[in-house]
């Protein structure tokens, strides 16, 4: 099922996608997407949607199950409060990705912007995962409460930092892995930095194998560089803030 999205307003496009899925389409391809907002928002089920072009803001907010493949860059606000499903972005993505994300996977081939993975949360089998291939801006994993956030730094220029300032500020749950070096001065006071142990590397590797298959990155090359683990030193960093 292919829909030519050229010049179609977001509302009509999203109605069309929902109709087709309701009628039983398992595979929907959207060609010539450019800037249409809210694609796949709140969508349930197991459909697969391929987006050729640059989708607009708030892609896959509250999404609960489907698989999205974006052949292009994505803008801001992807996977806001996403619950389940998978998003593969074969390009770069903007700011505020995976805000309050509570399940599912968001795999970005290239760079990501500011405020990625803010307040992700996890509980038991609900583990949201974001893996970004390139670099990230400031506030990566700010107030992170659960889940897995991975930054690979592929293709960055010499001397370019892998992430910006305020990494993990207020982090109190979940875990981050960064392939390379992070200056502790750029991290929040609430995080610690360690070398991951074997068990942790095994868990990470499983995700990275899947990520590389999805995005076309070379797994073996990726694993030649060391990872660091960034973790919250306390599950309640502000528990005593107003209680002295």
């Amino acid at each position: 099922m292919t829909i030519d999205a050229k010049g179609i307003y977001y509302r009509q496009l999203n109605e069309r996608v929902r109709e087709e899925i309701k009628k039983g389409a398992a595979d929907v391809v959207l060609d010539n997407v450019n800037g249409q907002r809210y694609i796949a928002d709140g969508l349930r089920g197991k459909a697969r949607i391929t987006i050729n072009g640059v989708p607009g803001n708030d892609l896959a907010a509250f999404m609960d199950g489907p698989t999205l493949i974006v052949n292009g860059n994505a803008q801001d606000g992807v996977a806001n409060t996403m619950n389940d499903g998978k998003i593969i972005i074969n390009g770069n993505a903007g700011d505020v990705l995976g805000y309050g994300m509570r399940g599912g996977k968001l795999y970005i081939k290239g760079d990501v912007g500011y405020r990625v993975g803010i307040h992700m949360k996890g509980f038991k089998s609900q583990i949201p995962v974001i893996i970004a291939g390139g670099t990230a801006g400031d506030f990566f994993g700010e107030y992170m409460a659960g889940g897995l956030l991975v930054l690979l730094g592929i293709g960055r220029k010499k001397g370019e930092p892998i992430a910006g300032s305020y990494l993990g500020t207020g982090m109190h749950g979940g875990v981050m892995y960064v392939r390379g070096f992070v200056d502790p001065r750029d991290c929040g006071a609430e995080v610690g930095i360690l070398e991951p142990n074997e068990e942790e590397m095994a868990e990470l590797s499983a995700y990275l194998k899947e990520y590389c298959k999805d995005t076309g990155h070379d797994y073996d090359r990726l694993m030649k560089e060391k990872f660091i683990k960034i973790y919250p030193k306390s599950s309640r960093p502000y528990g005593r803030l107003y209680a002295y």
């Binding site: 450019n34 907002r37 640059v54 803008q75 770069n92 700011d95 912007g113 500011y114 400031d138």
Partner: protein
Amino acid sequence: MDHWWEKDISGCGLSGIINWDGKRISGSVIRKSVALMHDRGNGQGGGFAAYGIYPEHKDHYALHIMFTEEPGKPTRDFEDAMKETEAYLDKALAVDLAEDIPVKVTEKIPSHPLLRRYFVKVKQGSRKGTAMTEDDYIVSVVMHINDRIDNAFVFSSGKNMGAFKGVGFPEDIADFFMLENYEGHTWTAHNRFPTNTQGWWGGAHPFTLLDWSIVHNGEISSYGINKRYLEMFGYKLALLTDTEVVTYVFDLLVRRQGLPISAACMAVAAPFWKDIDRMEEADREACEAIRMVYGPALLNGPFAILFGHGKGLIGMNDRIKLRPFVAATKGKTVYMASEESAIREICPDPKEVWAPRAGQPVAVEMGKGIVD
């Protein structure tokens, strides 16, 4: 409570194009780009700045003046405001051409101010006994009209450039001013979603002075301190919108005090002290000096701005990137916008697309391209 109430989700939209080789681009191009971001505004303001559009009058200052009502102020007959303004202009300047700005009334823009333009020069001897430059003199004329003549507002005053703005969606404002009939080497566009002040014709973006023009997405939380600082240098803040201060800050720092544009950008989006502490000594000293001398010029709060002038275009963000901003290049053209899709709408296949870092300006100069 009505649970089906739909929130109007918006946040202002910007778009800019510059061909640094001087090739002129039709206004229909920028219209198409900003129209894609229709949903970032709410119809309470749209506007454009265009450079290189009046080559036949390139040595004249082009004054675009609107005669209109102002929120919270009594209104008189606009013809009277026009007569008073024209009598003042005839005395203060050499007016070589006065005409209506051509408009096409559409159902989208059903009512509008009286819109006039004047191609003027500074008369010999009018600055006698002062240290004013011609630019200073024009600024004093603009400030006089905006501050002293009720219901008259100069909305652009540069050479070979003009602003076109009003209450409406930007694509409708473009049709109203028939921007497809203009060609410029640099364009900026704004789609407004007013937050703190009400929409009115004078409050639409861009805000201009001489050939400076600013379109802005965000809020200048430091408006009060910036305003008081600028008033010390004789600027009159008459347009009831925070963005106005950005235009005058650049005029003060760059034109009047001679700072390089990069230093002015550093003053308005200064690095944090924690980052200054980590710099090499020479950079640290320069940053400290700029922060100390130009503290009141610092713009606090979220912003993305496009700042046009006759010789180039600059786009930049606040220091922690609280508003979206994307740039792209193709040949000798540089694009800047709130959303990548707005660039791709007019340039489907850019050579490079990137999201500039917080507080790091993208500066393009005519004849040179992107400069550091």
